[in-house]
């Protein structure tokens, strides 16, 4: 079985494999897409939302933001954790507090702040991925969440949990073709 690496970067990996049956490669592909644990925002608690989009709309958009999940293995699944609903061992908390004063303002994923209780928390190294390095058009731009006019305000807490791609497509770890 020969493995040759065609292309390597922080976001891409291309491999050519000789002497391997198609079903084995397909099984690897399906496992990579669906069964590797990642983090994604699942619950959103709103305090203030006076923007033009309703709560569920913004929560849906927040859930689709990719989150850096190299530490996802250390988190526990919520169903296995001893806590009631969620704690610092099975979830990661993000806060967003934006108000618009003078001009029209855009809310980006860079405005999401990680909320940690102490320095040793697992959540201290988890942050949203702000741009896609492989697509040159949107390489340097962060993800747009919403837009605000003067006088509007959004304040919320987002709770990110560990899951796998089979459960919801938000948690699909990567695109493999």
């Amino acid at each position: 079985m020969d493995l040759k690496i065609n292309k390597v970067s922080n976001y891409d990996l291309g491999i050519t494999i000789d002497n391997m049956s198609l079903s084995l490669v397909n099984a690897l592909r399906r496992t990579m897409m669906g069964e590797i644990p990642t983090l994604a925002i699942e619950l959103v608690k709103f305090e203030i939302n006076t923007s033009i989009f309703h709560d569920e709309f913004i929560a849906h958009r927040l859930g689709l933001i990719p989150i850096k999940s190299e530490k996802a293995i250390d988190f526990k699944f919520t169903r296995e954790c001893n806590c009631d609903a969620h704690c610092y061992k099975c979830a990661c908390y993000f806060t967003l507090d934006i108000s618009c004063d003078d001009e029209n303002k855009s809310v980006y994923s860079t405005d999401l702040e990680t909320k940690i209780s102490n320095k040793n928390d697992l959540g201290s190294s988890v942050f949203p991925i702000h741009f896609s390095g492989s697509n040159k058009l949107i390489e340097k731009k962060p993800i747009l969440i919403s837009k605000l006019k003067p006088g509007q305000r959004i304040k919320l807490i987002g709770i990110a949990k560990k899951g796998i791609g089979k459960r919801t497509c938000q948690m699909e770890s990567r695109f493999v073709g």
Partner: protein
């Protein structure tokens, strides 16, 4: 209140069901049906193609009867020299060996 099925339904085996259930027809001892819970084409296609490379296996096939019910049915017919259970066992071990070869290639 809502129609959404539990998303963990497709992953976790419920307590009243076992992972694998064997159905056997009494006429032919070499034909065997296996119902494997909470698996899909990821494992089914891999097992089925690995069984076809075994010389003693006459027939192997798998299907997922309904996309919303999360189990697969696997059928094996052997020629009598080995039983279907042994054929399944050896093909699973072969798959494990192949995957550990891939792991070694990647680590180097």
């Amino acid at each position: 209140m809502s129609n959404i099925p539990n998303p963990l339904d497709s992953i976790l085996v419920p307590e009243n069901k076992k992972k694998i259930k064997i159905f056997k027809k009494n006429e032919n001892e070499n034909c065997c049906y296996y119902k494997i819970e909470r698996e899909d084409h990821t494992l089914g296609n891999l097992l089925h193609s690995q069984l076809l490379t075994d010389k003693n296996v006459l027939f192997s096939g798998y299907k997922k009867p309904h996309p919303l019910e999360h189990f697969i049915v696997l059928k094996i017919i052997t020629d009598g020299k080995i039983s279907p259970n042994e054929a399944l066992d050896s093909s699973l071990k072969d798959i494990y060996i192949k995957l550990s070869l891939v792991e070694d290639c990647i680590k180097v």
